[in-house]
């Protein structure tokens, strides 16, 4: 029997009354917040096995440096049986950005968590292969954090991206004009100016 998102969200709330907040509806989507991140694995397993959320569409992380619980993990779950989508969120402290991995519940979590680790610097416990995925091994920063500047930071890694990218008003602006591309390219300009 098919159920709608509201029913499933309320059932989740009923079964975990103390650690799940009231479901919030916005533009037809239901969001549940998990108040105790230590029990994420248990709740996720329940969602998969009892509420038939067999597809983890996406997981991501939001960085809010002004909050005490700085990082919010967001999981987009989909149930093929009920044809509904639900969002599970949980907030963790900046001091110890660590949470349990869901990669043995959904295989798709494996790479998604690697990406979060790479770009946001969240540690996933029991992850089978927690390595950087988009940035290279040995890169020191986590570029999607809000305190990482848009133009990048200088690194000591060979001859790639060792310098900060010049911005001049917008991301990566090439100068107009009819000089050749080599001269118009932002990287080729001298560093005497502001950048």
């Amino acid at each position: 029997m098919k159920k709608n998102a509201e029913d499933l969200a309320l059932r989740l709330k009923a079964d975990f009354p103390n650690i799940i907040s009231d479901p919030i509806e916005f533009r037809g989507e239901y969001t549940c917040e998990l108040l105790d991140p230590a029990r994420l694995y248990e709740v996720a397993k329940y969602l998969r096995d009892k509420l038939d959320f067999d597809f983890l569409k996406d997981s991501t992380c939001i960085d809010e440096p002004d909050q005490e619980k700085r990082f919010t993990l967001v999981y987009e779950l989909y149930s093929y049986q009920h044809r509904v989508q639900m969002r599970l969120k949980t907030r963790i402290f900046a001091k110890k950005p660590q949470i349990s991995s869901l990669s043995d519940l959904w295989e798709s979590a494996n790479w998604q968590e690697r990406e979060i680790y790479d770009l946001m610097g969240i540690q996933f416990e029991n992850h089978p292969d927690l390595r950087r995925i988009l940035m290279w091994d040995g890169y020191q920063y986590h570029p999607l954090r809000k305190d990482f500047p848009l133009e990048g930071k200088a690194t000591q890694c060979g001859n790639i991206f060792t310098e900060v990218a010049p911005l001049e008003g917008g991301p990566f602006v090439t100068l107009p004009g009819n000089t050749d591309t080599g001269k118009r390219e932002p990287r080729s300009r001298s560093t005497d100016s502001k950048f």
């Binding site: 989507e29 996406d58 939001i62 967001v74 987009e76 989508q85 295989e107 988009l134 940035m135 991301p171």
Partner: protein
């Protein structure tokens, strides 16, 4: 000078001899299984290799020609799109979405624009004409993406002619896009709340004309491949993934449907005007490379079917919503009315002001589900924008599909999964 280890060499030679004897032994039976030499070779494929569809690198561990372990290495095309999105206005991000799945730019534009419209709560205000035009664009993009997908798939396995024929047809679609948006490739055609411009005169007739000749071209493509003995040998039973695995790994689109997952966002979570159109969703059973190829062919035919319905149904009327706080008012009004001039100025300098909230919108793109998760704290830029790229998922299943396969199956599996690195790396 390093010392040669003759002993090791001899050992291997002895093993090889033993294996050779085995081959002789089993030559009359049906089980030519070789004993593993116990020695593996490391081979790096890519990042720049013609069959890698962009800049993808595989680290393979081989035993003879058999793959023991294969690890994809991605990120060579990472441009930080999500970081850029946090620093540009809602409208300024549209051109960046062109560069995600760069084989179907309009489809990405539409998906992004619809995600923002969902956040603004104006999804149901979008004029019908715009919705139909967006469907036409998406389906044309789907055809053009599948043409490249099949063409490159063929080329990777040695069927170069297919590629040339596919590109011929793709050029015709680009001509249509050019007359529609001014750009052949990176169109940036839709706008939040409408479209950048209306259809040129006679454009729908051109689409109809294209549909008429295109089906014949698909027949020709099929003549090259569908019953080709070599093609069948290279693709049938290769890279099989079951439905259960496909769901757990998060495959979407054709890669899921080839494994029997009967799901299509256009039909099951309809957006735009897909619920008013009649179309079939082809579904496979086996989930091998051949079936994924076959579904692409079938889906192109279905897209033609959708296009033909749409060209008849496109109504007359406005293309943009009325609210000039979201979309630029017409030039004439901006030049003659005070209020519109103010809106025009505010939109051009500050952009749209979005309400706080979070939405996820997923669209059925040629490669699978392209989703945008937007977390807004209000104001002119997203606080966090996450792209869910289907190719990222497709590449993550490669180790599963290729374990124990031959090295020559690698291009077949890559081609059949139809990946694009621009979208995977973002």
């Amino acid at each position: 000078m390093p010392e040669f280890k003759y002993l090791e060499f001899d050992e291997n030679a002895a093993k090889a001899e033993k294996n050779a004897a085995k081959i002789k032994d089993v030559s009359n039976t049906n089980s030519p299984v070789l004993e593993s030499l116990g020695e593996t070779m490391f081979l790096s494929m890519g990042p720049s290799h013609p069959s890698m569809h962009g800049v993808l690198r595989f680290m393979t561990e081989l035993d003879g020609e058999t793959i023991v372990k294969i690890t994809p290495d991605i990120g060579y095309l990472h441009r930080g799109d999500e970081k850029i999105a946090e620093n540009v206005t809602w409208h300024q991000f549209i051109p960046y979405t062109d560069r995600l799945d760069y084989l179907a730019p309009v489809a990405n534009n539409v998906a992004y624009v619809m995600a923002v419209e969902k956040l603004l709560g104006i999804t149901d205000q979008i004029p019908e004409r715009t919705q139909f035009i967006r469907v036409i664009c998406c389906e044309l993009a789907r055809i053009s993406s599948h043409l490249v997908g099949i063409g490159c798939f063929g080329m990777d396995l040695g069927a170069l002619t297919v590629f040339l024929h596919a590109y011929n047809e793709r050029e015709k679609i680009f001509n249509l896009f050019e007359s529609l948006s001014g750009a052949r490739f990176t169109t940036s055609y839709p706008r939040i709340g409408g479209l950048s411009r209306d259809l040129p005169e006679g454009w729908l007739g051109e689409v109809d004309k294209f549909c008429d000749t295109f089906l014949k071209a698909v027949d020709d493509l099929e003549l090259f491949l569908t019953r080709n003995r070599i093609w069948l040998d290279r693709t049938e039973g290769i890279g099989v993934i079951t439905k259960k695995q496909a769901i757990s790994w998060g495959l979407t689109g054709i890669n899921l449907r080839a494994s029997g997952g009967n799901f299509d966002l256009r039909r099951d979570n309809p957006y735009l005007v897909y619920n008013r159109l009649n179309f079939d969703v082809p579904v496979g059973t086996v989930g091998d490379c051949y079936e994924r190829y076959l579904l692409r062919i079938l889906e192109m035919r279905e897209s033609v079917n959708i296009l033909r319905q749409c060209t008849k149904l496109v109504p007359n009327g406005p293309i943009n919503i009325e609210d000039s706080k979201i979309i630029l008012p017409p030039k004439k009004r901006a030049m003659t009315r005070m209020e519109d001039l103010i809106h025009h100025f505010m939109l051009a300098t500050e952009g749209i002001t979005a309400p706080p909230g979070e939405v996820y919108f997923g669209a059925e793109n040629p490669k699978g589900e392209l989703g945008f998760y937007i977390y807004s704290k209000g104001g002119g830029t997203p606080y966090r924008l996450k792209i869910r790229p289907p190719s990222f998922v497709s590449i993550s299943v490669m180790p599963l599909l290729l374990k124990g396969a031959m090295i020559s199956d690698v291009p077949a599996v890559i081609g059949s999964l139809d990946i694009v690195m621009g979208e995977c790396d973002r």
